[in-house]
């Protein structure tokens, strides 16, 4: 077999043992991802069942936990499936450092959004009043007469 180009980087050794070990790691990470997703879904379903009876603090806490699981899943996909964990430290940093700035981006804009809401509610009374006016479900039964309704929706 001719190699037209010898790579100037060093590939890992490829033996049947490394193949088995690699497949084992994939299986482990797959189980983690599946379990975390199932937990997220259970929490999401509990939120759906209880969001009217739970206090807003508990609702926010559960949403926070779901978001943490989302980040953990992202870590496992990037580190193991995309192999980033096994790369050189400096390369990992070229990916991770900009993303820490991204966290600033997220916080700043969500805080801004929150500020828009507060300013609108304080100074735009027409908008505030409209946003508090309840409506009945649309005439054509927008959600195909679905069994799951908003708690506030008037019965048909």
């Amino acid at each position: 077999m001719e190699h037209t180009h010898t790579p100037e980087y060093h590939l890992h050794a490829a033996t049947p043992e490394t193949y088995a070990a690699a497949k084992k790691e994939v299986k482990k990470v797959t189980i983690y991802l599946t379990v975390f997703t199932i937990i997220e879904l259970i929490l999401g379903y509990m939120l759906f069942l209880n969001h009217t009876t739970w206090g807003s603090g508990l609702v926010l806490f559960v949403k926070g936990v779901i978001l943490i699981f989302m980040i953990v899943k992202a870590f496992y996909i990037v580190a193991y499936f995309m192999h980033l964990k096994h790369e050189l430290k400096n390369m990992i940093m070229t990916i991770v450092v900009p993303l820490t700035l991204f966290i600033w981006f997220i916080i700043a804009f969500l805080a801004d959004g929150n500020s828009y809401k507060n300013l609108n509610n304080s100074y735009d009374s027409y908008k505030l009043e409209r946003s508090k006016t309840k409506v009945s479900a649309p005439a054509h039964g927008g959600s195909h007469g679905s069994e799951v309704k908003h708690p506030e929706q008037k019965a048909h």
Binding site: V26, G44, K73, L88, L99, Y116, N121, L128
Partner: protein, 224 residues
Amino acid sequence: MAANTATVQTKWWNGGKSPFNVEYGKLMMWYFLMSDAFTFGAFLIAYGTTRFASNSWPDPNVVFQSFPGLGSGLPLMFVSLMTFILIVSSVTMVLAVQAGHHNDKKGVVNNLILTIIGGFAFLGCQAWEWTHLFHEGAWWGRNPFINADGTAAGTNFTNFFFTITGFHGFHVFSGVIINIIMLIMTLNGTFERRGHYLMIEKAGLYWHFVDLVWVFVFTLFYLV
């Protein structure tokens, strides 16, 4: 990673070798994915900002509660299926890349086929979701759903939903095309002749990125 052996420190930046010990194409794929991550991130942050600026928002468990063939009243079921399809296709992609590392051409072929099937299955599901919502009156500029607190909702909800899932679906579609090309190249023996399956690895990075974005989209639109 043997960046530092017992006696000799590898001089990574003196030329003659790749400083990060990776192929140029692989590093560039990572940086393309960073740019794509910023784009998706910007869309999702815009969505978040709009939601934070809103007094109320439609409840996803009311909007997304149908399952093909099983009717409605089943919140989270269909999106769970879509999520698992994409996760499993990511797993088969990792297995394809690993098979490539060990020059297991049959392993590469089989796992690529499974990944492609998973990709098409996801696209089919998303198409069904879009069609179903469209038939309920939802589209860009049209939102038939009301807010969770019973007040009238604007079109932000549907605009963001279709734009972001559409942009993601476009990436899934292009990823499937890339994977099909990878499969054809593998079957033709291109990588066997080259002596390495690094191209599969690069396609794998793109496919995992697509799965990663879905993890965020799924959580932020359907769960919280």
